[in-house]
């Protein structure tokens, strides 16, 4: 059986690697359409990560909201703004070497902090798979105020987006 476990863990690490590669591709690809597709790949990968963390409701929500709706929005925007013709415009500005250095430094000290701090581990939570039932109770119970606030916030964003993008006659 432990062979199966090993395979599982190896699978998770490869998934993480794939996501990182897709993220790098997304940032460096020349055509915006290709980088949007790379983002879609990253999002689906992250949904996979949620599955390995036993958060399957969240994984489905991620695919439905991000890959279903947000990606469509992004691709619509890309189609509307990108001319069919020229692809030759340089996508990255000149600060990239400086940026790489700064970010690597930031990353280095961040991982240092992560490794050193003793995280308080609660073993019994490890295996609890959270079903939609408990999430529903949490939303309606403890976080009901935040839930209502988010719905107001979403409606405001919706109307705002329409007003800005509308071709006012």
């Amino acid at each position: 059986m432990e062979l199966l476990n090993l395979a599982g863990i190896a699978g998770v690490y490869t998934l993480m690697l794939v996501i990182l590669i897709a993220a790098v591709a997304m940032v460096t690809l020349r055509s915006l359409f290709h980088s949007a597709l790379a983002l879609a790949a990253v999002l689906i990968g992250i949904a996979g990560i949620y599955l390995t963390l036993q958060a399957d409701f969240l994984a489905m929500i991620q695919i439905l909201i991000y890959v279903g709706a947000v990606m469509t929005l992004i691709i619509f925007a890309v189609m509307l703004t990108e001319h069919l013709s020229h692809q030759t415009v340089r996508q990255n500005n000149r600060q990239s070497p400086l940026a790489i250095a700064g970010i690597c430094a930031f990353l280095f000290c961040l991982t240092g902090v992560i490794v050193r701090t003793p995280w308080p581990l609660q073993p019994q939570n490890q295996t609890a798979t959270i079903t939609a039932m408990e999430l529903g109770k949490a939303f309606m119970g403890q976080y009901v105020f935040a839930f209502e606030l988010i719905s107001v916030f979403l409606i405001a964003a919706l109307i705002g987006a329409i007003v800005i993008a509308r071709k006012d006659k």
């Binding site: 059986m1 489905m60 929500i61 439905l64 890959v67």
Partner: protein
């Protein structure tokens, strides 16, 4: 009847026990998963091939003609002939097309169509993967096909396909929302997202126990089915590949095997959507006498017949009417439906006074929305016959 009912389960168990004697037990687990994947990978394309034949036969009979009967006895081998034709046809890639995305689009179109099979309860105990968020998985997977439509239309770089791509994406999004909302009452009364639990919930109630016999269930079923038809770009809503207007929509530039993949994705979507509609509203594999998996296939094929029936009869909607229907008619109906279903579930389970009240409420709201949209309703016409 029990033996016939779980005939497939027993054969699998026997096969696994047979393998068990010289394979380690964790290998058996893998083989079990392998069998399920193999069944779906075979079932999908075979269903797709024989749906094409079924469609041409049914529509043929509706038009008083026979439909394909040259290849094989009743045209049985016709799908294989189509398959070979699709394989051998030359695969043309437009000159300034975006090679990778052009190739990737059909492949990515088929993957969600195949994934959706994983959640359908084919029979008692015969559900490939019993996710407890099965229904949400189905909706999430079917919503990813929008991106593939975009990729196909953007990559072929021609006016017609971009026009078609934009139209079909807009249609898919505006029909996804009523589809998701029309499923909420079912989740509400089955108290679970897993398709297996939903079918069992429909079996638990006494008397006529399918959701479709409750007032809100009927309305939700009609809306879900129509949105499903729109989701796979079929008949009254098949605007993207409207031959008479913009040639063939987003798959204008595809030929040969790639076109076959688009074709396969469409027919697999047809099967999965009608299978899910049968599961949610018509009681999945619930049925008095026949084995459970046979009931499932009868109900699914009844709904598929209705989809082909639409294709054989109804003309096509125009773009703005299509969108108007989704946003102005289906959306308000589904919202009200959720409230009525909530009240229905809360007050009592099965007595008829509540059912009557909710039915009256729903019908009155339906007439109200039809009244609101009367500007788009067809007007009566009078003609005078003059000497």
């Amino acid at each position: 009847m029990e033996i016939l009912d779980s005939i497939f389960l027993n054969t699998k168990k026997i096969f696994l026990d047979l393998l068990g004697c010289w394979l380690p037990d964790w290998m058996i687990l893998l083989v079990n998963i392998g069998i399920i994947i193999g069944v779906i990978a075979v079932l999908g394309p075979v269903i797709m091939m024989y749906l094409t034949l079924l469609e041409r036969k049914i529509i043929g009979r509706m038009q008083n003609r026979i439909g394909p009967n040259r290849v094989g006895i009743f045209g049985i081998l016709q799908p294989i002939a189509d398959g070979i034709k699709m394989f051998t046809k030359e695969d043309i890639i437009p000159q300034n097309a975006d090679k990778i995305v052009h190739f990737l689009a059909p492949v990515l179109m088929v993957i969600p169509a195949l994934l959706a099979f994983a959640v359908l309860p084919f029979g008692r105990g015969m559900i490939p993967v019993n996710l407890n968020v099965g229904l949400l998985f189905f909706i999430a997977v079917s919503s990813t096909s929008t991106i593939c439509v975009f990729m196909a239309s953007w990559a072929s770089r021609n006016k017609f396909s971009i026009l078609g791509g934009m139209r079909s994406a807009a249609q898919m999004i505006s029909y996804e929302i009523p589809m998701v909302l029309s499923v909420v009452p079912v989740i509400l009364s089955a108290e679970s997202l897993s398709t297996y639990a939903i079918v069992e919930a429909q079996a638990r109630w006494s008397g006529l126990h399918w959701f479709v016999f409750t007032p809100w269930g009927l309305l939700a079923f009609i809306i879900f089915f129509l949105c499903g038809v729109a989701e796979c770009n079929r008949s009254p809503f098949d605007l993207p590949e409207a031959e008479s207007e913009i040639v063939a929509g987003f798959h204008t530039e595809y030929s040969g095997m790639k076109f076959a993949l688009f074709y396969m994705a469409e027919y697999m979507n047809t099967f999965t959507v009608s299978a899910l509609a049968a599961t949610l509203f018509l009681g999945g594999w619930e049925g008095p006498v026949l084995p459970s998996w046979l009931w499932f296939f009868i109900k699914t094929h009844a709904l598929i017949f209705v989809m082909f029936w639409f294709r054989g009869t109804l003309p096509r909607f125009r773009v703005d009417q299509l969108m108007g229907l989704a946003w102005k008619l289906f959306l308000p109906l589904t919202l009200i439906n959720i409230f009525v279903a909530g009240g229905y579930h809360l007050i009592s389970d099965r007595n008829f006074r509540v059912a009557g009240a909710s039915a009256v409420l729903l019908v009155s709201f339906l007439l109200f929305t039809v009244f609101l949209n009367r500007k788009y309703m067809p007007e009566k016409r009078r003609y005078d016959l003059v000497d």
